[in-house]
């Protein structure tokens, strides 16, 4: 028997031995190096993303995970200042100084951009000799050509062609001929010399600078795109990002890991020399003008569920974690400060308001809710946003009173929405005025039935839907929950086959009020636009039109307030909350800024970490109690003894 079984047994033995030898609960792969060229310790940060990015092509990606990675590999002409958050402020990145505005006689506008010199793309086999070449104005021409190329599928093309010259004709020409002609220069950009060019706009558009800070306008190199074309056993460009940013992609193990490595030739930006909060001068002073990035490697583990990321954070294997509802209980005490156990560990708590608003919206084409303003007001009044906030977000979020989120031009911190009081008595009055006294539909004599579309795929959203239902049913009506998958939900939203829905959160692409009010613009109807509630109001549309051409100032502010008042009174939406991101940083990290727009990935070049401290604390935190081992061994031994005794007794 033994000889035949020996390969299996030896295999098992080897496996068991190696298991014992490598007994560690650290899930991360070893860093690329242990010391830098200059002898200092190699610094790694460990983060997590929720999924595989769909694409790492800056002209294509439009999701958070993709942007987290892209904004570290690529750079745009402008970037957000690390320290300025209220309001957010742009500063030059690839550009050498802010673009100069040139107004033309025909109402068109151009911006002249000068590039910094000596900026090189990452080293990559796509370049001759494997050495990245210098960035020139021609790369921006190519980038704008890509935006217009139908094959690239740039998701913001239809928005950008409204204000950038030449995108639409280029797209239409390519569509007609079947392929994009890259040899023909695009009208959007005029090259003046290798490091100077002009971008032409169809009309004055003050928000254009924000677009110059987005990854969509980040330059890519033509030879790289053409080298990685998916043939000759090469992967596509979307898996091989090569930019000018502070990090280069070192490894992408689909479904488990993205590893970025410091770009050794990075010179575009340095650590800011001023602007930090005065009380942390001692920490920031030595960093002033330091070369970036401060770390050498960034690992992103793919973790879909926050139960797992929370486990790893507690074991010290993630440097930062965003708190979900269920981690609040352990990390944060009722005063929304850090709980004792975590304070003793040296963990830091961050609260960053995000430019996000969550709301319910009504379908204004619906014969019941769409045509009855009082009914909408009643529903809006009865919903207790504060209680929802406490139950589902531990009271962390900001109970929303308006569409605009904090940090945006036009947000009014002291505004109180008369229909967002949670006052049940008043809501009942309103519904009586609306023609449904006590929630009863006089036509049938039964409670009015409203259908609420939700996306309830996980347990939290299920509980949330149940809560929402209870809230609205306080009016005496019946609220039926219509469960959807995401695509169905969107489909119903686009086709307008819903009555009211929740789950629509709107995240600002850039910190400007326009992106929010656009949602209720009467010309922005689905399927082309995003006005899913089909709100039509002539005055609103006129004001919005006026606003979009104005620079920030008292006039623009006045219009923003008027737009808000219309939305409050007409009630096509019930704003419920503004997201506040609660996150924890391990003691070996240092918090640098509270800029939510840099929190994703763009800020990682400023990140700072102390690897020695991390190693020490990780060891201390992962000492498992001994008793379970003994209990387990004891139980196994007892079973064995019993079995042996039993067999002996049987044989006797």
């Amino acid at each position: 028997m033994v000889p035949t079984a020996s390969p299996l047994i030896s295999l098992l033995l080897v496996a068991a031995l190696s298991l014992l030898a490598a007994c560690s609960n650290n899930p991360h792969p070893a860093p690329l190096h242990s010391v830098r060229e200059d002898g200092k310790p190699w610094r790694v940060t460990y983060g997590n993303i929720s999924d595989n990015p769909r694409s790492l092509d800056p002209q294509v990606s439009y999701d958070t995970t993709g942007n987290t990675i892209i904004s570290q590999i690529y750079e745009s002409l402008l970037q957000y200042n690390l320290f300025k958050t209220d309001p957010y402020e742009l500063e030059p990145c690839l550009a050498d100084g802010m673009p100069r505005e040139i107004r033309h006689a025909d109402g068109r506008v151009s911006y002249e951009v000068r590039l910094k010199r000596g900026i090189r793309f990452h080293d990559d086999p796509a370049f001759p000799g494997g050495k990245g070449r210098e960035l020139t104005a021609a790369d921006f021409v190519y980038t704008f050509q890509r935006i217009a190329d139908p094959k690239v599928e740039c998701p913001v093309l239809s928005v950008m062609q409204e204000f950038v010259v030449g995108l639409k004709p280029a797209f239409d020409a390519a569509k007609a001929s079947g392929r994009f002609d890259y040899s023909r220069p695009i009208d959007s950009i005029t090259v003046i010399d290798d490091h100077t060019f002009q971008i032409h706009l169809l009309k004055p558009y003050p928000q254009f600078f924000y677009w110059l800070a987005m990854p969509f306008t980040a330059p890519v190199a033509r030879e790289v795109v053409e080298y990685y074309h998916g043939r000759d056993h090469r992967e596509q460009f979307r898996f091989h990002p090569v930019g000018t940013g502070p990090f280069r992609l070192a490894e992408w193990a689909r479904g488990r890991l993205i590893r970025l490595e410091r770009n050794p030739h990075y010179i575009t930006t340095r650590f800011p020399a001023s602007g930090w909060p005065a009380e942390r001068d001692a920490f920031f002073r030595p960093l002033a003008n330091a070369p970036l990035p401060l770390i050498d490697e960034a690992q992103y583990a793919m973790i879909k569920e926050n139960v797992a990321s929370w486990l790893l954070f507690r074991q010290g294997y993630l440097d930062r974690v965003v708190l979900g509802r269920d981690n609040f209980g352990s990390a944060i005490s009722a005063g929304l400060t850090l709980s004792e156990a975590f304070r003793q560990r040296g963990v830091q708590l961050n609260k960053d308001p995000e430019p996000v608003t969550f709301f319910f919206q009504f379908n204004m084409d619906d014969p019941v809710v769409g045509k009855n303003r009082k009914l909408r007001q009643a529903l809006s009044t009865v919903y207790d946003g504060e209680r929802a906030n406490i139950l589902f977000r531990n009271g962390v979020d900001i109970n929303a009173q308006q569409l605009l989120p904090p940090g945006l031009f036009g947000y009014q911190p002291d505004f109180r929405n008369p229909y967002r009081t949670g006052d049940v008595a008043k809501a009942r009055e309103l519904i009586a005025e609306a023609g449904y006294p006590g929630g009863i539909d006089p036509a049938t004599g039964r409670p009015l039935v409203l259908k609420l579309d939700v996306v309830a795929l996980n347990s939290v959203s299920r509980q949330r839907a149940e809560f929402d239902q209870q809230q609205f049913e306080q009016l005496g009506i019946r609220c039926e929950i219509v469960e959807n998958t995401w695509p169905n939900f969107q489909d119903r939203q686009i086709r307008g086959t819903f009555q009211m829905n929740s789950g629509s959160g709107w995240h600002a692409d850039y910190p400007d009020a326009e992106t929010f009010f656009l949602l209720f613009d009467g010309r922005n109807l689905p399927p082309e636009g995003h006005n899913a509630s089909r709100f039509q109001n002539a005055r609103f549309d006129a004001l919005f039109q006026e606003m979009s051409q104005l620079p920030d100032g008292p006039e623009r502010l006045r219009i923003a307030h008027q737009l808000n008042d219309i939305l409050v009174e007409e009630c096509p939406l019930i704003p419920t909350s503004h997201l506040v991101l609660f996150s924890l940083d391990q003691p070996w990290m240092r918090r640098l800024s509270r800029n939510a727009l840099l929190a994703g990935g763009a800020g990682n070049k400023y990140a700072w970490v102390d690897p020695a401290e991390r190693d020490r604390l990780r060891k201390a935190w992962n000492r498992a109690p001994l008793w379970p081992t003994f209990v387990l061994a004891g139980a196994a031994l007892a079973t064995l003894l019993y079995a042996v005794r039993w067999v002996r007794r049987q044989n006797v």
Partner: protein
């Protein structure tokens, strides 16, 4: 034998065809290509991007038959996919344009790394325990054992995983509670926990099944004869019962062997193992229809392959069965 195999292979074709028809039927009911495109491109994508996206992937063609004038009748989504599958071209992922075949190849190893050890350990352990149970059959321990195994199989996999992960993270710091990484032999530390959980969750039903098979065998006439002739109890069990029972057993087990490749949906996604189960989960979550239909196709191929293996096993085990 050969003719039988060929006949068998031919009979698979209508079944695969049926599978594809059902897949298309169901998934187009759930997700029109347009909604799928919207989910993949994100809520902010505009109509024109959606249309270009659809056209680039052939989703603007009719689903089953192309009745548009001037176009070939079979230039439809269904037949184009079918053409691809028959030539083993699985197409590209709708989500990120990666070749599906590549994604699947990448997932096979991690999946096998957990399912294969789980199968080997589970199978040998169940064999051992069931033999022991048969050995001591009808004793108190046997009855208690059966009750315990029934209890083990009455716990859903999810409960196993939830408790397993929690206990591993809080009471033992031996293994990572989550994650996967290729690092030679010590890859095993990532596998220990999932494998343990898979073994435990499958143990109950397997021991019960094997025990039933052995008990059936032990009541056969030839065993009675052997016992009557005075062959020792242990010898009867280990030689006759084991040998004949094993044949019956293998024919049962062999059908499930091809499925080891497909991995485990729940365990893989809980522990972050980038295998085929996880891939499938992602495909469902991201509405990656081309990945889903490729997976369904491969799944049904494996199933039919398993059926064939079973038949062959029967034939090998029992020469009386003629494969006409």
């Amino acid at each position: 034998m050969l003719t039988y195999l060929i006949r068998r292979l031919l009979s698979m074709i209508p079944i695969l065809l049926g599978v594809m028809v059902i897949t298309f039927l169901l998934f187009y009911q759930i997700n029109r290509p347009e909604t799928m495109a919207r989910q993949i491109l994100g809520p902010k994508a505009d109509q024109r991007t959606v249309e270009t996206w659809l056209a680039h992937r052939g989703y603007d063609k009719p689903i089953y038959l192309n009745t548009r004038p001037g176009e070939p009748l079979l230039d439809s989504q269904f037949f184009n996919t079918l053409k691809g599958f028959l030539t083993f071209d699985l197409g590209i992922s709708d989500y990120n344009d990666e070749p599906v075949a590549k994604m699947i190849r990448r997932g096979i190893l991690p999946s096998l790394l957990i399912t294969l050890p789980a199968f080997i350990v589970g199978f040998s352990l169940s064999l051992l325990l069931s033999l022991f149970q048969v050995f001591i059959r009808d004793s108190l321990l046997d009855r208690w054992g059966t009750a315990i195994f029934v209890a083990l199989m009455s716990i859903p996999v999810i409960v196993y995983v939830i408790f397993g992960q929690w206990i591993a993270a809080n009471l033992f710091a031996w293994f990572p509670a989550f994650g996967f990484n290729f690092e030679g032999l010590s890859t095993a530390r990532f596998l220990a926990l999932p494998v343990l959980i898979m073994v435990l969750s499958g143990l109950g039903s397997e021991v019960r099944l094997y025990r039933a098979i052995f008990i059936e065998e032990i009541r056969a006439d030839y065993i009675r004869t052997a016992q009557a002739k005075g062959v020792s109890h242990a010898r009867v069990l280990l030689v006759h019962v084991l040998k004949n029972g094993l044949i019956a057993l293998i024919t049962v087990v062999v059908a499930s062997l091809p499925f080891l490749i497909m991995g485990s949906l729940v365990v893989e996604s809980f522990f972050g193992i980038p295998g085929l189960g996880n891939l499938m989960m992602n495909a469902i979550n991201t509405s990656d229809f081309s990945l889903i239909r490729a997976n369904v196709y491969i799944g049904s191929l494996l199933f039919l392959f398993g059926l064939m293996l079973t038949d062959l096993c029967y034939a090998a085990a029992d020469p009386r069965i003629r494969l006409q």
